[in-house]
């Protein structure tokens, strides 16, 4: 011990086990400190986890609500004809709508001025929405229709605390007086917050419309990609593992495969993106931005993970099972496929689900093959088109939102992360349940 040199300084009399001397105290203190360091390290790690979870929830949950203005609106046939006759058609519709808004306020005993400019700042251009509705449904003319219009991004931010009255900067997008009007409308129950279905089911919107952005289309893109990954990586991964674990002779070729698998597991994901771009798109001319190509790239990326976990569960099946099968006259192939594989299946499934979850969260390779967020403009029309039509995936969509200038998209990005993490959580819980219920210990 390095502390041995201190012996001479310690007085002889105190060397009894009943009272601790200075050196023992120091050693015990060092011991305590060391434990504290360890506890602190774990504490810091868990603290980061909590901060991460808190900031996801705090910033992401508002994405699931939206602020809407609902007005009961009647448009008569003559108003419609008159508006269609004017030069600025949408302006005319806007006029009718604003009048309906004022009358609705008055009917609730609230006095407020609604001028056209303020209404446009709060609601955006309502005229074209209304015109399109009545042109598509002429039978609704003369009847009372309820319009739920989402308010502009800034007014939405006012409700969610992004925009506040103190430190408010007036601009042509929103004036302080507009907020008074918004307050009055809220008091009258005309503006309220509701669950944002469009965020869950919708597609990406343009750069200037954060309110209309939804993650639904990219969820579909991710789904088709995962389908490709599952269909390819499970059989290939299992076949490769069976060969390596049960049949492969000890030779150079087997070593080569083993080295390749362990190295591929550690190759940066972006390199797989480069591979996908060069081989699948440049060389094989597969369509860009297609979930099929994304699925192929992610398959190559998850294969090592699946092979490693599958081999572990094959290894866990005791040799007595194989010996018993061989002893009863089964061939080697029969013993593996009829006895070892079914026993290893729960472990293989668990590993596959975890590999899929990893693939689901991967972003970088998808960006290189063109699956960026703004191509996710809608749902594919047919099942087959789901594989080849340009689409995005959840993480790529989140990246696109995060790199846009409008702060309204940040909220969407966090909200998208909640959706993504919910999927990952579900997959991991399924994996844990599978492992708990079916895993056998010999």
């Amino acid at each position: 011990m390095s502390d041995a040199s201190m012996d001479s300084t310690a007085p002889r009399q105190s060397r009894t086990l009943l009272e601790t001397d200075a050196r023992t105290r120091r050693r015990n203190a060092a011991e305590k400190r060391f434990r504290m360091y360890g506890l602190a390290a774990i504490g810091i790690g868990l603290f980061f986890l909590i901060v991460l979870a808190a900031s996801i929830l705090r910033s992401g949950l508002p994405a699931f609500t939206q602020t809407v203005l609902s007005v009961d609106f009647v448009l008569t046939q003559e108003q419609f004809d008159k508006a269609e006759g004017t030069l600025f058609k949408t302006k005319a519709y806007e006029g009718y709508f604003n009048a309906a808004l004022v009358s609705q306020l008055q009917s609730q005993g609230l006095e407020a001025e609604v001028d056209a400019k303020a209404a446009e700042r709060i609601l955006g251009k309502t005229g074209s929405t209304i015109r399109e509705f009545y042109r598509a449904n002429p039978d609704q003319l003369g009847q009372e229709v309820r319009f739920d219009l989402s308010v502009s991004s800034r007014v939405d931010g006012y409700f969610k605390g992004r925009v506040t009255r103190d430190g408010f900067v007036e601009s042509r997008f929103l004036m302080l007086a507009d907020l008074d009007l918004v307050d009055a409308l809220t008091e009258g129950g005309i503006i309220r917050q509701q669950f944002n279905w469009n965020f869950v089911t919708g597609a990406d919107s343009g750069v200037d419309n954060p309110g209309g952005a939804g993650i639904g289309a990219s969820v579909v893109g991710s789904f088709f990609m995962m389908l490709v990954v599952l269909v390819l990586s499970l059989p290939i991964g299992v076949a490769a593992s069976i060969y390596l674990e049960e049949f492969a002779p000890q030779n150079r070729f087997t070593d080569l495969i083993e080295v390749n698998i362990s190295n591929l597991a550690a190759v940066p994901s972006i390199v797989f993106g480069i591979l996908g771009l060069a081989v699948f798109i440049q060389f094989m001319h597969l369509p860009q931005s297609a979930p099929l190509v994304g699925g192929l790239v992610l398959t190559l990326m998850t294969l090592p993970t699946i092979i490693i976990s599958t081999r572990a569960s094959l290894k866990a099946v005791p040799p007595s099972i194989r010996d018993a099968a061989l002893g009863l006259g089964a061939s080697k192939m029969q013993s593996v496929f009829h006895h070892v594989l079914p026993l290893a299946a729960p472990g293989i499934l668990t590993g596959t689900i975890i590999g899929l979850a990893q693939a689901l969260g991967e972003t970088a390779p998808l960006l290189l093959i063109g699956m960026v967020g703004f191509v996710a403009r809608g749902y594919p029309e047919t099942f087959a088109a789901g594989f080849t039509d340009p689409n995005s995936a959840m993480p790529a969509q989140i990246y696109t939102w995060a790199s846009r200038a409008d702060a309204g998209f940040y909220e969407k990005a966090w909200g998208g992360i909640i959706v993504l993490l919910l999927f990952l959580l579900t997959m991991n819980i399924i994996a844990i349940i599978l492992r708990r219920r079916f895993e056998r210990r010999w």
């Binding site: 011990m1 015990n28 060092a30 060391f34 434990r35 360091y37 360890g38 602190a40 390290a41 774990i42 790690g45 868990l46 980061f48 986890l49 991460l52 900031s55 996801i56 290939i236 076949a239 490769a240 060969y243 390596l244 049949f247 390749n260 362990s262 190295n263 591929l264 550690a266 190759v267 940066p268 994901s269 972006i270 390199v271 797989f272 993106g273 480069i274 591979l275 060069a278 060389f283 094989m284 001319h285 190559l300 294969l303 092979i307 061939s331 979850a357 969260g361 991967e362 972003t363 970088a364 960006l367 290189l368 063109g370 993480p395 989140i398 990246y399 995060a402 790199s403 993490l421 991991n428």
Partner: protein
Amino acid sequence: MPVLWLFLIVLAVAILGYLLGRARALSAAPEGRRGLHSLPVYYGANVALKVLVPALGILILWLLVQPFVIDRAVSGTIPDSDIAEGASRGLVMSEVARVADGVKAAVGAGTMPAAMAADPSPDLEAVTQALKDAGQVVTGDVTQTVFAAAQKYNAMAAQGGLYMTILVLLAAAAGCVMGLHEAKPDFRARNVVEKGIRALLIAAASIAILTTVGIVLSLIFNTVEFFRLYPASQFFFSLEWAPSFSGRGGASELGILPLLWGTLYISFVALAVAVPIGLFAAIYLSEYASPRLRAVAKPLLEVLAGIPTIVYGLFALLTVGPLLVSVFGDGGYLGVSWQGGGRAVMTAGLVMGIMLIPFVSSLSDDIINAVPQAMRDGSYGLGATQSETIKQVVLPAALPGIVGAILLAASRAIGETMIVVLGAGAAARLSLNPFEAMTTVTAKIVSQLTGDSDFASPEALVAFALGMSLFVITLGLNVVALAIVRKYREQYD
């Protein structure tokens, strides 16, 4: 999608062959299934395998080789005189491929009449317009040479598709007939089928090799192409990274050193965060923690490893960056103005460090647990306290393994993309200030290969050279780390 249909037809033939083969074997045996060499299913499986393997093999091989052959043939028809100054043959060929795809899409969308697509000397302005109407990306006007080449391209592709269909269907039919012919009682069907399955297993295992070969080839080909357009010495030794945005300008400075510096700096910060925390956490969990604490804390820490990197990227951009600015930035709590914006080496490094904590801790945990208990007991027997035992016996014994774990973490940090794309900034800079924005190799690969860049320009091809460098560095680190970890494991096994 004809390939999908072809696949389904082959599959149908295989299923039919399976049923027929089984039935035929059974009916050919006079005393029922006991007279057969193998179980009846093996006769069916023999037919199915003989249909599927050659037919799908031809299909895949054809799909792989056809673009290569067509590219060669079409490229030969373009005279050297038609390749513009400063452009390469590859550039023209990518234009041809784009126009060829565009013409197909335009005919499909109905904006281009089929006659115009087949016309040997059409009105080129109308062609360009038709392509634009179909929503195709066209750079400038389509020239006569390019259009003619695109026509040849499409014609060859259609012809190739036809040959492929015929060949695949023939192979499937031949396999079916052959398999059925073999379905006789004394045919050793099980042995043949098992041999076939074994070959398939080997093929599946070889995909790992194919992937590596694919990565290496795609990197090498494009890197060589890049070095043809841009001097290698300048790429490796220039201190400047300034790609021109026009895409074809010769004014780009594409030196890897500033990017490499940013990568290493960020990785260093990340490891400075992750290694102490991860190592201490691993020591506490393996040596001190009660089983209950371990059962709770270990999985919770590993949750950090399961979170997708895009989440960390967003966390860096929107939470950690602004937080750091409010501390170190202008008018921050410290009263210093070191940090200009949220994106900085510190931001990305810190968040990446958080991501790597579980990586370091679980690897080190395994390694510390592998140190034999006898060594600890010996140390306790000599009167050492627990921390002295850890510091002077366990850690030195586990050191090689821990170094391996740190190297693996470093390779992870160098290859990490999303955190640096969102958190580190876009400006390439050689600076020592960790609060400044810098960029990395991976971030530049993303920015050079996304968007409507031309894949044949040096600005896009540089991404492959960057990828090659990244691949070599991480591969080197991994090989060394895995060798160390493996050697260490053997020591105590």
